[in-house]
Symmetry: C2
Subunit: 107 residues, 2 copies
DNA sequence: TATCTTTGGACAAAATTTGTCCTGAATGGC
DNA sequence: GCCATTCAGGACAAATTTTGTCCAAAGATA
């Protein structure tokens, strides 16, 4: 996958993809069929991409769609923790709940 | 805190609080000022409580509001992972992103 | 049977999110 | 300086999602 720097935000990674390709917001926006202003906002993490848009981005930059989607999901979780000023240990609790709910569903 | 079983869902914990108190949905709903049907849905994790409602629940059952809120947040994260069928390692990535974004904000 | 509790569908109201348009600041070339 | 282009960011309508209530029906209890 062409995304280089890890553990930066989804937006930053997207910007890096674009800059590595040497393209402007307008050019990329045209290709993935959105308004350049929306793309700029997504790069600054002020708007969230839809799944459909993530697919278009992955296709355009030829990166793995599933990995890109997981980058986005981990971003969402990170921002939720920051927004709520929650303790990081809720991630551990969440992990245990995933296992628990899975057992529930297999009954 | 009076919540006993850990790593069950928010709804199950709420139901346990209610049953431990020996109360019906209607009785509790009246006290926390919502429709009994909504309370039932929250107990079955079919609706999410608002923060205001979490406060009312914490007050009514005399449990720690912040802990209850974090129970809810970890639920939300768990359900997101299940909904998206995401790999659990995104939690680790999210944790690293939280640290990263915090450093960003201190610049 | 009669009563009370719980479940769950339907739906309007409320809240949130998305995407676009537009303005202005910044940069670079000429 | 002036023009063209890029990017930032506010405002706002449209679209989507979520919330909360009402109601009917199922289940339990006596």
């Amino acid at each position: 996958m062409a995304i280089v720097k890890k553990h930066t935000t989804f937006g930053e990674q997207l910007r890096q993809l674009r800059e590595t390709a040497g393209m402007t917001l307008r050019e990329v926006a045209e290709n993935i069929e959105i308004d350049p202003s929306l793309l700029a906002k997504i790069e600054r993490n002020q708007r969230q991409p839809t799944k459909h848009l993530i697919k278009n981005i992955a296709d355009f930059f030829e990166v793995n769609e599933k990995e890109l989607l997981e980058e986005f999901l981990s971003d969402q979780i990170a921002y939720k923790i920051l927004d709520e000023e929650a303790d990081l240990n809720i991630l551990k609790v969440a992990e245990e709940k995933v296992a628990y709910i899975k057992t529930l569903r297999n009954e």
